[in-house]
């Protein structure tokens, strides 16, 4: 793996880089050779066969030769097929999503990137990934088409509104790399510049943990109120008493609920914890079991915060 930037391509910092570069330089040197050959031949002909005196007339009737023409069509086809197959193989590799990858959600909008990690961490314009581990991005756009492009990793993928696209890479060295938006997306396009920060595995885990604690100086209740919105509880649960897709959180804590199986339970800390991590365990009467599980998405400390917040709503 060559991590120094050449005159042409930038340094190689992902497992796919050397594949891409090998083919690039192959095509590049062939092209330079061909170009030089053609220009030399033409120049030579122009000098060598320049008309000197005499009258113009058609020179030899050599204007057609079937064997030669067939050869001309077949011979160039060979290198074309070779590079096509080579390039397609690498492309397939780029598109075969590894099963054991760290999964991150990327969202593009005019004009910044945001990333959501497992266990609830998130970041803006800076993608933090562990070194030597496959990372898989599931991406979507909030407005127009954007395109995720990290030259050093040799990966690029359009990010579309109303659809998901995926991309994976495995960084091979720690460091900071430029993240561009490659699809023109309006006047702020050039400023849609992010960074990819590749860190060690332990640093990555530590960073994600830190993201799960309430920001310095924020009370647990306020943190819970924030999570209520950022974890999208708000889309199904109101806090003002109106029932939505799910029951309202108002006056919930400490009160009795009727479950679908006829049982009655008191809403306490454990009940809430279970509702968040395993919503199907107990279904509230009159509601559909549509709540997603937050297992692996929400950290203990965040559940604490949510419970603290729900308690304030019951006063």
């Amino acid at each position: 793996m060559d991590t120094t930037a050449g005159f042409w391509l930038p340094g190689q910092f992902s497992t796919i880089s050397s594949d891409v570069d090998g083919l690039f330089y192959f095509i590049y040197y062939c092209s330079v050779f061909l170009f030089a050959l053609v220009v030399t031949a033409m120049t030579y002909f122009a000098i060598r066969y320049r008309r000197r005196g005499g009258k113009v007339g058609l020179t030899s009737g050599f204007t057609h030769n079937t064997t030669m023409e067939i050869l001309w069509s077949v011979i160039p086809a060979i290198p074309i097929v070779v590079v096509f197959v080579w390039g397609s193989k690498t492309f397939m590799r780029m598109h075969a999503m590894p099963g054991n990858a760290v999964e991150i959600k990327a969202t593009a909008q005019k004009w910044f990137w945001s990333f959501d990690y497992p266990e609830g961490a998130s970041s803006v314009n800076e993608l933090i990934v562990p070194v030597n581990k496959p990372v898989k991005l599931t991406m979507s756009s909030q407005d127009v088409i954007h395109s995720f492009f990290v030259p050093e990793f040799r990966v690029k993928q359009d990010v579309l509104p109303n659809r998901y696209t995926q991309l994976w890479f495995q960084a091979v060295a720690k460091g900071n790399f430029d993240l561009y938006c490659a699809e023109f997306c309006g006047k702020g396009h050039s400023e849609m510049l992010g960074k990819v920060r590749v860190v060690s595995d332990t640093e990555f885990v530590r960073w994600m943990d830190e993201q799960n604690k309430p920001p310095a100086g924020m009370s647990l209740e306020d943190f819970g109120a924030q999570l209520y919105k950022s974890k999208a509880c708000a889309t199904c649960h109101s806090v003002n008493g109106t029932p939505g897709t799910g029951p309202t959180f108002m006056q919930m804590f400490g009160h009795e609920v009727l479950l679908a199986d006829g049982q009655r339970v008191i809403v306490d800390e454990n009940y809430i914890r279970e509702s968040i991590l395993d919503p199907r365990a107990k279904i509230v009467n009159g509601y559909q079991p549509v709540m997603p599980t937050y297992q692996g998405v929400i950290k203990d400390r965040q559940i604490d915060a949510l419970i603290a917040y729900l308690k304030t709503l019951a006063k």
């Binding site: 042409w8 391509l9 930038p10 891409v20 083919l23 690039f24 095509i27 092209s31 170009f35 053609v38 220009v39 031949a41 033409m42 002909f45 122009a46 066969y49 008309r51 113009v56 058609l58 020179t59 050599f62 204007t63 057609h64 023409e69 001309w72 069509s73 160039p76 074309i80 097929v81 096509f84 080579w86 390039g87 690498t90 492309f91 780029m94 598109h95 127009v144 088409i145 395109s147 492009f149 030259p151 050093e152 040799r154 690029k156 993928q157 359009d158 579309l160 509104p161 109303n162 659809r163 696209t165 430029d178 561009y180 490659a182 023109f184 309006g186 006047k187 396009h189 050039s190 400023e191």
Partner: protein, 496 residues
């Protein structure tokens, strides 16, 4: 005075229409060139020398739309189809004189509407249009779309005229086999436009309808989903821009054959190659969507078809070389235009094949490399082929001889300008710099510096070139009969 202007603007004489096209295209192209030059100059500084990013985006949007929709798409059917084609096929008129004139009017009206729409709408989505089209005021949007619609209609009518003229009005006795390669390639390009323009027309129409469509099926059917939008756009736009190299092949072949005193080598093979190329151009649009949401299998197919284009292109190149081989070369100015056009054709073509390879496309798509490829091919090879053709036929259509020495100097300056301007974009692209950046990391300044210097040289070269053509009229008294000693029928007087 006014009467004579009105007469000019309403004359169905194809020569008159040809000059109308030439004059209007030249004016629009001048504006497009000024915009292009501004684009390379402002980026000598990583944060724009002048203009703000929004204005920069508007400038490249105008530049791209002008150069593509108002210059390279109409120039062959409009200028060559009227001024040169009838002579070449030995006809005293075109097949559809009135349609031909209407085509020009649509061109003028469409061009102006498009420009007004782009400007008033503060539109910044490039020539590929913003997807989905959002945030434009309704009046501006209608103006832009009607402009583009009229242009599609204009191109359809002009192509219809060219195709029918070649089909019906060839000199008695000239079969398809006797048709010169210029005629053949103009015919093929016109055919491709006839095939794709209806789609483009409908696509633009759905955008327009979708903009106003009430709820219900119209809205559903026209909703600008980003992927559907891109497919519908590229289905016609991809062939439209690739096909401009066909008439360029015709021109280059004609010039090389004439000035080497030979017939084009493997004429029939070249014709087949052109047909294959035209056919392929219709089915490779998905090449523009490899990094979109397209299924991998589909992408593989598109990439393969796209790479195949290298085969007919390579065939034509070898035929040119064989034509020069053992020729009797009289290196008049137009010969050198063809010479330079071939060299740039090779460079642009190899870059094109590179991009059609999937893993390369991932790295190069949407980067400055694309800018390098399109400009070396079109603003390089095709442009020089066009000027070579104009220089070649200028004595025939104006009756005055061009200053050859000046023509060669202008060519050298232009060629240096082309290389200096666009090679840096190849370098930038491979290094991973996206296209259309108004602000870029400062380590990429040297390349932008070269491009700006090249831009100035290129513009000087092209202006000199045009000036030399235009002033040739005054410098010569006697009418040249066959200055190039060509044996083509339009020169030897075998045609009417």
């Amino acid at each position: 005075m006014i009467q004579s202007i009105v007469k000019r603007l309403t004359s169905t004489d194809h020569v008159s229409v040809g000059w109308l096209y030439a004059a209007t295209i030249a004016l629009f192209a001048l504006a497009g060139t000024a915009l292009g030059l501004t684009l390379v100059i402002v980026t000598v500084k990583p944060t724009l020398l002048f203009l703000n990013p929004a204005m920069y985006a508007r400038f490249f949007t105008l530049h791209g739309n002008i150069m593509i929709n108002l210059l390279i798409l109409p120039v062959f059917a409009g200028v060559f189809g009227n001024l040169i084609l009838p002579r070449v096929i030995g006809s005293s008129r075109v097949a559809l004189p009135r349609t031909n004139l209407i085509g020009w009017w649509l061109y003028l009206a469409g061009g102006l509407l498009m420009l007004v729409g782009l400007w008033v709408g503060v539109y910044d989505g490039g020539w590929t249009l913003h997807t989905p089209l959002k945030g434009m005021s309704s009046p501006a949007f209608i103006t832009l779309m009607s402009g583009l619609l009229l242009l599609a209609g204009s191109l359809f009518l002009a192509s219809l005229n060219v195709a029918l003229t070649i089909y019906r009005r060839r000199k008695a006795g000239t079969g398809w086999a006797g048709l010169s390669l210029v005629g053949w390639t103009l015919f093929l390009a016109a055919l491709v436009h006839l095939i794709i323009m209806p789609e483009r027309f409908l696509f633009l129409l759905t955008q327009l309808v979708g903009h106003f469509g009430a709820d219900g099926w119209i809205k559903q059917a026209t909703s600008p989903d980003s992927q559907v939008f891109q497919h519908l756009f590229w289905v016609s736009s991809s062939p439209a821009v690739t096909i401009v190299i066909l008439p360029a092949i015709g021109l280059i072949s004609e010039l090389l054959a004439t000035f080497t005193g030979k017939k084009l080598f493997a004429r029939q093979g070249v014709l087949i190659a052109c047909c294959v190329f035209a056919g392929l151009s219709l089915v490779v649009w998905g090449e523009h969507l490899l990094i979109g949401e397209q299924a991998t299998r589909t992408s593989v197919l598109f990439s393969f078809l796209s790479a195949l284009q290298g085969i007919p292109a390579g065939f034509v190149l070898l035929a040119w070389l064989a034509t020069m081989f053992r020729g009797s070369i009289t290196p008049h100015a137009p010969f050198w235009y063809a010479f330079a056009a071939v060299a740039l054709w090779v460079m642009g073509g190899l870059a094109g094949v590179t991009m059609s390879i999937m893993s390369m496309n991932v790295q190069l798509h949407s980067t400055a490399f694309v800018v390098g490829h399109t400009h070396i091919t079109i603003a390089g090879s095709v442009l020089l082929a066009i000027f070579g053709g104009l220089y070649y036929w200028w004595p025939l259509i104006t009756g005055s001889m061009v200053n050859e020495r000046a023509a060669k100097v202008a060519l050298s300056v232009s060629a240096v300008g082309i290389l200096l301007t666009f090679i840096p974009y190849f370098v930038l692209g491979v290094k991973g710099v996206p296209r259309r950046l108004s602000v870029y990391p400062s380590q990429f300044q040297p390349e932008h510096y070269w491009a700006a210097a090249g831009g100035v040289v290129l513009v000087c070269g092209v202006l000199f070139l045009v000036w030399n053509l235009v002033t040739s009229r005054k410098t010569l008294a006697a009418e040249p009969v066959n200055p190039w000693s060509s044996d083509a029928p339009e020169w030897t007087g075998q045609t009417g």
